[in-house]
């Protein structure tokens, strides 16, 4: 799933971050993720995985790293990371 997320985000022109240079646990906000880009990221993930993030998951922490995004997706899809 990590690879799927990486591929998805890397090809999104609205998210100007070099994911190749980041570890799974690297803080995306420190890497320059803006609130606008984070929303673009959420929309792309919802579309790709056919999920909808509930309100309580829409926090900074959920989208702070590739690993935490993967954890949130698996929680919603009950899929293994």
């Amino acid at each position: 799933m990590i690879d799927r997320i990486r591929t998805l985000l890397a090809q999104n022109p609205m998210i100007p971050i070099d994911f190749g240079a980041l570890s799974d646990n690297a803080n995306l906000y420190d890497a320059g993720l803006t609130s606008f880009a984070s929303v673009q990221m959420m929309l792309a993930i919802e579309e790709e995985f056919d999920i909808e993030f509930p309100e309580q998951m829409l926090t900074r922490r959920t989208f702070s790293s590739i690993a935490s995004i993967a954890a949130a997706i698996s929680e919603l899809t009950a899929e293994q990371v």
Binding site: D30, A31, G32, T34, S35, V39, L43, L58, R60, R61
Partner: protein, 401 residues
Amino acid sequence: MNVMGKISNPLALSPADCTADRMARVAAIAADAVDAVDREGRFPQEAANALRHERLLGVAIPAEFGGEGLGTAAIADLVVQLAQACGSSAMVYAMHQIQVSSLATHGVTSEWHRAFMRRVADEQLLLASATSEAGIGGNLRNSICAVEVADGRFSLTKDATVISYGANADAILATARRAPDAAHSDQIMVVIPADANRSLERKSVWDTLGMRGTCSDGFLLTAAGEATQIFPKPFSEIAAQSMLASSHIYWAATWFGIAADAFARAQAFVKAAARKQPNVTPPGALRLSEAAAKLQEMKGHLVAAIHRFEAAQQDDDDLSSIGFAAEINALKVASSEKAAEVVRIAMLITGILGYKNGTPFSVGRHLRDVTSAAVMISNDRILANTSTLLLMSRFDTSLGS
């Protein structure tokens, strides 16, 4: 613990202990100077001195660091009180309190910032902020300048297009990129006291329609100091967890206070007319009730936002949620628009005596001051940001029962 003891002991509760009484004395002084401050576009020095004298600059510092530990609601009330006397003084006080909230929220884990909080409380330091910068177009979460840190020291040069009351502040909290090779949004905030390690070169003068006393001149800020003056948390967290909410709440409190004073003047006008002709309903009475309803809406929104913030402060996830940011953004836009509407109605009610300066019913200054509300961080920019957030966030319809 001491606070509880104080409240339960009536002997200890002298008038000097009541913050509302202390602010009432400041407001009286600010009101005497307001016309001169507005006309000359000068810093409200009398009000600033009075705030120091009444020790109201450190009230939001936690008690363990020498302050009085007042929360958001209490501070917002003080801002409203002062805004009814002088909009510029209230905005200066509001902006100071926004900086204090960053310190109180994000400075407790750092030795340097704890010591600085003690200084703010002991010496009643006035804090300003340098977030705007030439070339970034007003986006708080974006810096061009960067701190350079070496051997435990930092240096920074910032072309700050606006530092409100920068020349009058005892310290400036400035944002910058973490390092020369960091991304534009990878920012830190650093406390820069007004000492020999800092220089301010004025680049532009604040000559504006309203809020003239905030003296929001542009400066070239050059500073050096200990690297420990940099907040331990990244600015992105400070912005999301304390600055966003405290800014919009204290600004809204300022605009509410200005609108409330304009309303009071309109009410006095209608009352005077009713006294002269007891059998005739003054034509302005209808508009007065319209203005009262809008003022009530402002108050309701502000109170709800304060409750929302105080609840969210218990929960970092809630505080940094998209829903919270969207709600707090809405407060800024709604209250800035509403304040202008209330003052405009007050102008219609008071007529030529309201339009004219120097009458008991003058509301020209109020109208000019609240006009700043829609442009200090443009409402259009905030609406655009919020509309992005609303792609994800759902509206919370619960009434909080």
